[in-house]
Amino acid sequence: MRPLLGYLDALGPQAQTILPLTWFTLGVSVAVCVIIAWLLWVAVRRARANGGALETRAVPIERGANGINWIRTGLVISAIPLLITLVWTMVAIASISRPRQHTELAIDVTPYQWWWQASYPGQEPTESFTTANEIHIPTGVPVLMRLHGGDVIHSFWVPKLAGKTDVIPGQTNLAWLQANQPGRFRGQCSEYCGAQHAGMGFEVVAESPADFEQWRAAQLAIAPPPSTPAQQRGAGLIVYRCGLCHQVRGTAARALSAPDLTHVMSRRTLAAGRLINNPGNLAGWIEDPQDIKPGTLMPNQYLNARELSDVQAYLELLK
């Protein structure tokens, strides 16, 4: 099984530039350890005695060879991989600090304790939308990530595509992502940011440009009106309770301090990558988020069974 956050399989040009350098430095490192361990082992095997103070005193002192050649030889041999690494590092920094081709698409990413907001700006306000914890990109082209500091420092990391870029309040860091093939790539906050740092994941979904445009068009749509009585009661609850923090475009729930729920059911995961998005998990999360992610800023809702099923009925609509 390939670890979800492992970076020894690279699937985008940045990660692919870094990986050979990683293997090279890792190879040099392992070789150095093996050589030194062998030298040490052979040297210790030549020991005159094995014991304590008595055995130590019994071996006479001698001046011995001066041994400076060891240091000289060691340094000359070490210098070679060091110089190669130095040059390779400079070249790699230059080649990945900006994409090789112009970026058409820019996404504004703002992490908060403990979730990721992604805004897709369009030419017009009606062509812009905001989503959370699932960032879609088209394959084959570099996408600019404008990383805006929200509350505390977080770090944006999608290991299979690129290295980390910190997101720092008061500044906007730029990063770019490119995926060669369609796929889902796990991302994770990698700067400690408080209680749910561990639970601050996200997914990057790379899809063909056509699929991406289709997804984008779907995301632009506002929430459909509730039809059944249960959905209507659910919509009311959502506006009056969830709407204090969340947004459902097309309703009166317009707060922006938690993930946008307009198309929540189109997302694969819930709670910043913590749960698979299915009805059972959704209900469990709404009922008792503090159990699933202790410390999360979403309070427990204490809904009764009917209220919960109403809310669920409405949320099912938000595809």
Partner: protein, 645 residues
């Protein structure tokens, strides 16, 4: 200068009457007064060592609890908040309350003995340094035990550490505690530097300093430069939190990155400060068991200094992912790669010393020699993170956790335990058990590698640092379980050290002055050394005064039995910085409780600041001022006199 101030110290040989006279002058009074008033560097050194080991145990227990929580996925032994305080307190404890003080302890104990002096240059400052360290340790742990431990990691990034996100007292305890601890480190560093420059035995020119002295001297010089940066950083944080200044707050024009620069300008040199003296222990200890002098003494000494100088230019490698411009990153990347070179000098010097010597395997030797490979493993993983693009993937994963533990355990704990086996006989007059020592070593060595070698892979598989739990499907389960098992094995190894120490104190074999047939001055005095260290001040003519007769029979040997008697008061000899020619009699101040009261007053002040109780702050300041006054009250006896030549 009055003529009466000029005196030529008498030269003579040791005698029973002379020793009795010195003992009357130097011995600390029994009872509480002596306990709180002693300025004897040996007692202070042992206090440092014992206190630091207590903190090592506390930090270790914290680690074990965390390893239980991480032994499997989705465990809930700890809440996130508990876990966060544990990992923060663990880091704080190990780095600030163990790793540095343990080395200060050994250096405190050993320096005057290595240098042929009767005490440190400023014995009272030495006592103050210890008392403040103890006070700061207690202060920080009171926070932890009342649920107000640091909770933002040892490097404590803002804005998470600011009041908006961290309203409790946690960060106030940490900030003020660190400022308090900074006082201890600063006065300790100043003391070490002056001691090394002024109190060496006649003839111990700068090229005859033991490497341990080079290590601590270099580290002290660095600390004097960088500790103000971190004290300032924590003070500004406290101001931001309590008085609404905006040093770190972007909304008020502040800069979160200011914290990172101030912290790492301190933090990286500090990492070298807590390994260089330990590397010095290996450089001095290993040759004794190889039965020959260290290969490349001058290279190793200079590489110590070079490491530190380069160490000032690498702090940004902790900040490669913060969005700094590529050109700047390249410079720091280059410096971080270059710093490998002086480390390589030390490694090859040690290897050559074993290879070209006649090694005798003892427990101390096992610790010193195994440190070489642990150092190399910690070094090469550091070299990997020095490459910016590689670091963009590695940073903040368990790869870095593995790296820093190879550095701190490999280059600090292993040499320190080796040093315990090596110098315990000197400190107590009794030997540690070598058989138990072998168990001690192998269990620690195997446990450590079992815990931390697989952790590199955990990091390559992407596990982020500082997570209180992880999901089942990430591919980290087995590796974490192995690490947890390894950590407990390691802990058993550490426990055996304490068992051996207790047994050694009770029933260890008598050591004699020089059980290992070592070359340096500390082995020329009885074990444990008398309060005055040296009955006569030795004169040295080489790096290894006790091996002179065997290594260079034709040259003038160091004179250990005949030298300055200095028996007219608490005196030692002051010598010039480079050549160590005597130029001044140093009057060593007597025991006093003033440093204890200064520390008590300062602690009161800091508790007052924490509680914003200005009454308590005032009392603390007044007590401190009175104690300083008592300390500095001029006494005729303390005038310095030129040596008549």
């Amino acid at each position: 200068m009055r003529a009466a101030d000029l005196r030529t110290p008498a030269i003579g040989i040791d005698s029973v009457e002379h020793q009795a006279r010195l003992l009357r002058l130097w011995e600390t009074a029994p009872g509480l007064k002596g306990f709180f008033g002693t300025v004897d560097h040996k007692r202070i050194g042992i206090r440092y060592i014992v206190t630091a080991f207590v903190f090592l145990v506390l930090g270790g227990l914290e680690a074990l609890v965390m390893r239980l929580q991480l032994a499997g996925p989705n465990l809930s032994l700890l809440t996130p908040e508990q876990y966060d305080q544990l990992f923060s307190t663990h880091g704080m404890t190990m780095i600030f309350l163990y790793a540095s003080p343990i080395l200060s302890g050994f250096s405190n104990y050993l320096w005057p003995l290595l240098l042929g002096s009767r005490d440190m240059a400023f014995p009272r400052l030495n006592a103050l340094s210890y008392w403040i360290y103890l006070a700061a340790g207690i202060f920080l742990y009171v926070g932890f035990l009342t649920g107000n431990g640091p909770n933002d990691g040892w490097f404590n990034y803002v804005p998470y550490a600011t009041r908006d996100y961290n309203p409790g007292l946690n960060e106030d305890f940490y900030s003020l505690g660190m400022v308090l601890l900074g006082i201890s480190v600063t006065v300790g560093a100043a003391n070490f530097i002056v001691t090394a420059m002024r109190t060496r035995a006649p003839g111990m020119s700068i090229n005859r300093l033991p490497i341990l002295v080079w290590g601590t001297l270099t580290a002290s010089a660095a600390n004097l430069i960088v500790v103000p940066a971190v004290s300032l950083a924590f003070f500004l944080l406290w101001m931001d939190r309590q008085f609404g200044t905006h040093f770190y707050e972007p909304a008020g024009g502040g800069q979160p990155l200011l914290w990172q620069h101030l912290f790492w300008i301190f933090g990286h040199p500090w990492v070298y400060a807590i390994v260089l003296p330990a590397m010095g222990m290996v450089s001095d200890g290993l040759p004794v068991f190889c039965r020959r002098p260290l290969v490349g003494y001058a290279f190793v000494a200079m590489s110590t200094v070079a490491t530190m100088i380069l160490g000032f230019g690498v702090w940004v490698h902790h900040m490669f992912a913060t969005g700094l411009p590529g050109l700047g990153l390249s410079f720091f990347s280059g410096a971080s790669i270059a710093i490998t070179v002086p480390s390589a000098v030390a490694v090859f010097a040690w290897l050559a010393t074993i290879w070209l010597g006649r090694p005798v395997i003892t427990t101390a030797f096992l610790y010193f020699s195994s440190m070489i490979i642990l150092f190399v493993i910690g070094g090469v993983s550091g070299f990997m993170t020095a490459s910016v693009p590689v670091d963009w993937q590695l940073t903040d994963t368990y790869f870095v956790v593995a790296h820093l533990h190879y550095v701190l355990i490999g280059i600090n704990v292993f040499p320190v335990v080796g040093a315990v086996y090596f110098w315990f006989p000197k400190m107590t007059g009794r030997m540690l058990d070598e058989r138990l020592g072998r168990w001690n070593f192998w269990i620690m060595f195997i446990g450590f590698n079992l815990a931390f070698l697989p952790m590199h892979l955990t990091g390559l598989f992407g596990m982020p640092r500082r997570v209180y739990t992880y999901a089942d499907n990430m591919g980290w389960n087995t590796l974490n379980l192995i690490t947890s098992i390894g950590s407990f094995v390691f802990a058993i190894g550490v426990l055996l050290l304490f068992v051996n120490v207790v047994r050694g104190l009770r029933s260890g074999a008598r050591a004699g002055a020089n059980p290992w047939d070592g070359p340096t001055l500390e082995w020329s005095v009885p074990s444990p050394p008398p309060a005055y260290n040296f009955a006569v001040i030795p004169t040295v003519t080489s790096l290894h005064p006790l091996w002179d007769a065997r290594l260079s029979p034709s040259a003038t040997a160091s004179s250990l039995d005949r030298g300055m008697l200095l028996e007219q008061g608490k005196e030692t000899i002051g010598t010039t910085s480079l050549d160590a020619t005597p130029d001044m009699l140093l009057e060593i101040p007597g025991d006093t409780v003033a440093p204890f009261w200064v520390a008590l007053g300062a602690s009161g002040t800091f508790v007052g600041l924490l509680l914003k109780n200005w009454g308590l702050v005032s009392v603390g300041v007044v007590v401190t001022a009175l104690a300083v006054l008592a300390w500095l009250w001029p006494r005729r006896a303390l005038g310095e006199r030129e040596v008549a030549s």
